[in-house]
Amino acid sequence: MNQQFPIQNELAKKIWNHFEKELDHKIKNLPNDERYDVKLEILSHLYDSSINDEAEKEENRIINAIERLGTPEEYLTPLVSDILLNLRTKSGNPLAIAKSLSKNIQKSLVQTLTTIVFGVLYLFIIMIFIMSITHLFNPEVGLWIHHSGGISLSFETQDSSYQWLPKWFTLIGLSVSVGCYLLLNNLLYRLLKQN
């Protein structure tokens, strides 16, 4: 395909080839005809975009054109899954349709699991926060270490166990819960942004 898009500069050629390799990888699941079509169209866009760029050096024009295209996740992922879903549905092959559906279900399962995990973690943080405050009024509230080796968060004295750092529990509990809350918010924000 390189002959169709004449690149002069060596560095520009390297950048072009790297992009082409990445493109090949992203569309590898498509049938041959579709793969060729998508690849040619994206490379054609990239070439047109680069020759119309105002940068002086060819390599910079190609880099700018790649940036303008967006991330592969933004355009190749939906394009590839749409083409595959269409082909599988068209083929009428129940196995292929089931495969597409199972992929969608997998995606939903991951989202559900993420929601559950984040929900549990938020609940846990809220519980530590409440316990840290309650500890000020009721010193029995805290982290208890059992002689058998187990650990439990409890609102009352535990048999055969001793309380872990009772004087520092409120301070540590508040710091940990606030820190974890901010960390979790950050993680959730990044996750939502990615999706």
């Binding site: 898009f5 169209e41 047109d48 190749l76 749409d82």
Partner: protein
Amino acid sequence: MNPNSEEIINRWMPQFRKGLLEFIILLKLQQGEIYGYELAVEIKKLTSIEVAEGTLYPLLNRLKRDRLVISEWKTAEIGTPRKYYQITEFGIETLTKMKQVWTNTHSSILNMVMQS
């Protein structure tokens, strides 16, 4: 921390654009056949909508799947291949209905904006 109005607009714009792009592409195609890069440039020029150019391709693919457009490979004067898109009869028919929806919605929203 509550988002400021700029952040809210930044969040709202992609959704707003997403809904409009298919309509804009069909409007542009009604004026004549066009290839992907040219379409991206025209959309930027005419609407000031900043989109990642690649995102047009999943949309064009969907329009093609829905039989609203067809495509054909041609060779450009500079010798490179270009895939041209053309609106179909069915596409024009659908676009006419879209225009009607747009006109009605636009008038209603404009009324609300004028009253506010």
